[in-house]
């Protein structure tokens, strides 16, 4: 957890997908795919929700399972995106 991003929107979104319980979410460094929380069908929805929650724009080429594989990776990507000059608007 090296980034200083507020992870609340990420956790709220993922918890809602599994019926509301945050206790059942996997550790932040573990694969959401292996845990059964996320799959390729849900990736587009996750990306759209994160764009809305954090006010960032995710370029199409960045949409991949590897980029959004774990809570840590999602947070790291969003932290980088927020720090990017292209998201200053």
């Amino acid at each position: 957890m090296s980034d200083s991003l507020d992870r609340e929107p990420i956790l709220a979104y993922l918890a809602e997908k599994i019926g509301g319980s945050r206790d059942l979410l996997p550790p932040h460094d573990e694969s959401l795919v292996d845990a059964g929380v996320l799959d390729s069908f849900g990736l587009a929805d996750l990306v759209a929700a994160m764009e809305s929650a954090y006010g960032v724009k995710v370029p199409d080429p960045d949409i991949s399972m590897q980029t959004f594989e774990s809570i840590d990776k999602i947070a790291a990507y969003l932290a980088t995106a927020l720090a990017s000059p292209s998201n200053d608007a």
């Binding site: 997908k17 599994i18 019926g19 319980s21 059942l24 059964g36 929380v37 799959d39 390729s40 069908f41 849900g42 990736l43 587009a44 929805d45 990306v47 759209a48 929700a49 764009e51 995710v58 199409d60 080429p61 960045d62 949409i63 991949s64 399972m65």
Partner: protein, 400 residues
Amino acid sequence: MEPLSQQAALFVSATILVLRLPLPAVARQVLLLLANTAFLYTFHPMAPVVFGATSLLGFAAARLAARGASKVVLALCGAPLLIPLFLPKLDWLYTASAAGGDAVGNAVGTRAAVFIGASYFTLRALAFVLDARKHGKVHFGLFEFLVYNSFFPTIIAGPIERADHFAKTSSRLGRPSWDDVSHGVTRIFLGLLKKAVLGTLAWKWATPFRLFTSDPSLAADSQFAWIGLYAWLLYTYLDFSGYSDLAIGTARLMGIKLAENFDHPFLKPSIAEFWRGWHISLSFWIRDYLFLPMCGKSRSAIRPHLAALGSMTLCGLWHDPSLGWGLWGLFHGVGLSAHQAWTNRLRKNFALKRRLQQSLVIRVIAILLTFNFVALSWVFTISRFDLGVTGQYFSRLFGL
């Protein structure tokens, strides 16, 4: 060049030995590129030309993509890359090249024997372009790209090696460790066992399915129809994964570690997991370069389902541009879509989902259901365009 022929064994052995000579890395790459070109030439004199044109176009498009070229420019550069994808599968080429008779066939080899491998090096070139767009850089220079894209062990049936994965081990070309040699020999033995021994047995048991079009009486009873279908599916797996073993083993003897292409696909408890174990390099290609772009970043609940139907139908048509294979792909798309609808519902009760996943009984039932779903999908491929034959086989299976 038949994969199990003496000619192929001599060619592979000679290449491995030559690459072990005390030569600079660049010289070893040049020798490999020559071997790759010669390998293509043995199938058709035009094959190296098609490969060269495809690769040069792919590399140029990748350079443009890395510099942020617009989608229109990329589409114009990339569209011709699609031509070789379907070229080997056109009817006149197919009939000119397919081996006739009732000899043990090669599900991979005979279907694409003219410009063999065109679809594989084309898919690699397309991925190279799209990855360049994603990362803003190309993984290789032109020379390294040609070596990578023509790597002969992967030409006939993959795996569709990713450039970044290949780059990790390409520096060890011609310098295998003892571990590489040991693993390589084991994989080649396993591949030969699957293709030449077990595949031959499955081929014979698959007779009611294989020859149903010419002799429907072979599957007169439901039980023969099921045995024939299961045996055909098994044969397809043994032949295809056996070839992947040969490719992975041969590459390992050269010091190159390729990605795995199969992971116990018939022991998977869902159709989604089946595709994470069957022709893995193709299914990930479809996911990353077709399915996810079709999904975009929409919050629409229906769009991923439409993307699954579209991308899997294209997957079927990639295997063979025919009605039968298109329906095969669509059937898988419907299966993936239905499985996802079920998963989304179950995920809302995550504790129950975990309990079900941990139940051995549920797992066994799920594996059997998945296996039979996959087996039934292959019925669509029994005839390329005659749905009457397909319907007849379904009738035999269910005793109708």
